[in-house]
Amino acid sequence: MALMEVTDLTMRFGGIVAVDTLTFNIDKGSITALIGPNGAGKTSAFNCLTGFYKATSGQILFEGQSLLNMRPYKITHKGIVRTFQNVRLFKNMTVMENVMSGCHSISKQFVGGALLRHPAQRKEEAEIRRISEEALKFIDILDLKDRVAKNLPYGYQRRVEWARAIASRPKLLLLDEPAAGLNREEKNDLVRLIRRFRNELGITVFLIEHDMGLVMEVAEKIVVINFGTKIAEGTPEEIQANPLVIEAYLGKDDDEGGPVQ
C-alpha cells in the first residue's frame, strides 16, 4: 500500500526545470531511496515533498491527502519529518532540548499552560521528556543529553538530528543525504539504524543519497532520476543491471561494471 504517492511532480525555477513530471510511490513500511547524479533534481524534489519549495504542478498525496500548498510545519504535523543535508541543529541548546523539539508536533500546550503549569501541562511536559529520552536511548546517545549541541563532534550531531526526527513519532521519515560527512564505520551504523527505524519503530523511510554502496545495501526500492525525470525504478539488483542508470552515471561508452562505488 502506498503511504505517499507522487504524481507528475514538476518544479521550475525561472526557466530551469529542476523536477520534471516525476512519478513514484513510497510504500508503507518500506525503505525507499531516491538517487541520481549531481544536479539531477533530488534535493528540489525532496524540498517539494517537505513543503520547503512550492511545486509548480503535479500532486503529492500522503495517506490520500494532498500536501500541495501546505506549509512545512503542517506537513510535519501530518507525521512526516525530515532531516537536513548539512545538519541543522539548534546549536546553542542542549541535546535534550534539541530532541524535545521533535515532540513539538505531537504535543499542544501553549502560553496558558506555560504560565499556569496546570496538571495537564505538567503531564505533557513529563511525557515529552520521556519520549525524548527514549529517542536518545534508541540512538544510544542518552549520556550526551545535557551537552550543548554545537560542542559535539559532527558524527554525534548527525545522531542528535536522527533522535530529534524519531522523537516526533513520524509515519514517514525523510532523510536528506544522511551519510554525507560520515566515515565508514558511521555509515555502517547508519544502515543498521535505518533498518531499526523500520523494523522496531515501524517508520517508513525515504532517503536521498549520494553514497551508492549505502543505498544498495539499505534500500528495498530505488527511484533513479536524471535531469529531473525518473529513468528507472526497482530493487537494488534491478537498478544495478539497468543500462539507463549505468549510462546516467558513467556515460554512454563506458563498459566498466555497475554504478556501485
Binding site: 525555477f13 534535493t43 524540498n47 520547503f52 519549495y53 537536513f84 543535508q85 536528506d176
Partner: protein
C-alpha cells in the same frame, strides 16, 4: 493664494529636493546592506557629520573663495573626503571584527557608533543650532506665484550627476562588478581572488561620501544644521531603500525620489505634524504587499 497647479508644482519641487536627499543617503544604506547585510544605523549620523564638516570648511573658506557656489562645492568635496574616510574607518575598526558574529551584534555595534558620532557632534557644538550663511544669489525660474530657485535646480543637477556616475561605476568598472559579486556570494569571491575586505571598505567610502553630499546640500537648502538632524533623515532614507528594494542601486534612487514626492503630497494633504507617520505607514504597507521592494528581486531560499 496659490492655484491647484501651482501647489502641485511647488510640492513637486519640494518632493524632488527631499527625495534627492533621501536617495543619496539611501544609496549608502542599500550598498552596505547589499554587501554585508547590515542595517548601518550610523549612516544617518554620517550624513549629519557631513553637514557639519561642510559647514566648518565653508566657514574657513569663506574668507578666501567667498561664500557662493565655489565655497559650497569645495566644502562638499571636503565633506565627501572626510566622511568617506570616516565611513571607511568605522567599517575597519567597529564592523570588520564582527563580520562573522551574529547579525544582532553588528546592529548593536552600529547603534553604538551612531551614539558616538551623535554625542561627539553634540559636545563640539554645545547642542546648539548652527546657521549656514551663504551668499548664493537668490532668484530662479518663476511660474506664476511659484519660484523654482537656482539653488533647487543646482542641487537636483548635482544629485543627477552623482547618480549617473555611480551607475556607471557600479555597472562597468571592475570595482563595481566586484561589489555586485560580493553581494551575491562572498565566499566564492574570496576564492576568485577578489579582495573582499578592500571592496567592502570602498563601499563604505562611497556610501558615506554620498551621504556627506546630502549633508552639505541640506545645509545650503535649509540654512541650518543641528546634531540630531541625522536621526529621522537616516530612518527615512532607510525606508526609501526598502521601498526601492534594498540592495538595489536604482531601487535606492527610485525609492528616495518616490518617498520624497509622496511625503510632500502627504504633508500637503494631512499637515506636517503627521508627515513622519505617513512615511512609516508607507514603509509598513510596502513590506506587507511587496516585501522585496519595487526593484528588488525575489530570492529562492537554498536549503
Amino acid at each position: 493664494m496659490l492655484s491647484a497647479g501651482e501647489v502641485i508644482l511647488q510640492q513637486l519641487m519640494n518632493g524632488l529636493i527631499l527625495g534627492s536627499f533621501y536617495a543619496l543617503i539611501a544609496l549608502g544604506y542599500s550598498m552596505v546592506y547589499g554587501i554585508i547585510k547590515l542595517l548601518n544605523f550610523a549612516h544617518g549620523d554620517i550624513y549629519m557629520t557631513g553637514a557639519f564638516v561642510g559647514f566648518f570648511v565653508f566657514g574657513i573658506l569663506a574668507g578666501t573663495v567667498g561664500s557662493s557656489w565655489g565655497g559650497v562645492i569645495l566644502a562638499m568635496l571636503a565633506a565627501m573626503c572626510v566622511c568617506g574616510l570616516l565611513g571607511f574607518l568605522i567599517q575597519l575598526l567597529a564592523y570588520r571584527p564582527l563580520f562573522d558574529a551574529p547579525r544582532l551584534s553588528l546592529l548593536i555595534t552600529a547603534i553604538g557608533v551612531s551614539l558616538i558620532l551623535y554625542n561627539t557632534v553634540m559636545i563640539i557644538t554645545n547642542g546648539e543650532y548652527m546657521f549656514f550663511q551663504h551668499s548664493i544669489p537668490a532668484g530662479g525660474l518663476t511660474f506664476g506665484n511659484v519660484t523654482i530657485t537656482w539653488v533647487q535646480l543646482v542641487l537636483l543637477a548635482i544629485t543627477a550627476v552623482l547618480m549617473l556616475v555611480l551607475s556607471w561605476f557600479i555597472g562597468t568598472t571592475i570595482w563595481g562588478k566586484a561589489m555586485r559579486a560580493i553581494s551575491l556570494d562572498k565566499p566564492t569571491c574570496r576564492l576568485m581572488g577578489i579582495n573582499v575586505n578592500k571592496i567592502i571598505g570602498l563601499t563604505f567610502f562611497i556610501g558615506s561620501a554620498l551621504a556627506a553630499v546630502a549633508g552639505v546640500m541640506s545645509c545650503v537648502y535649509y540654512g541650518s544644521l543641528h546634531y540630531f538632524m541625522g536621526y529621522m533623515m537616516g530612518i527615512k532614507a532607510f525606508t526609501a531603500a526598502v521601498i526601492g528594494g534594498i540592495g538595489s542601486i536604482p531601487g535606492a534612487m527610485l525609492g528616495g525620489l518616490l518617498l520624497g514626492l509622496l511625503e510632500a503630497a502627504g504633508t500637503q494633504a494631512l499637515g506636517s505634524s503627521w508627515k513622519d507617520v505617513f512615511a512609516f505607514s508607507l514603509l509598513i504597507i510596502m513590506l506587507i504587499f511587496k516585501p522585496t521592494g519595487l526593484l528588488g528581486k525575489t530570492e529562492i531560499e537554498r536549503m
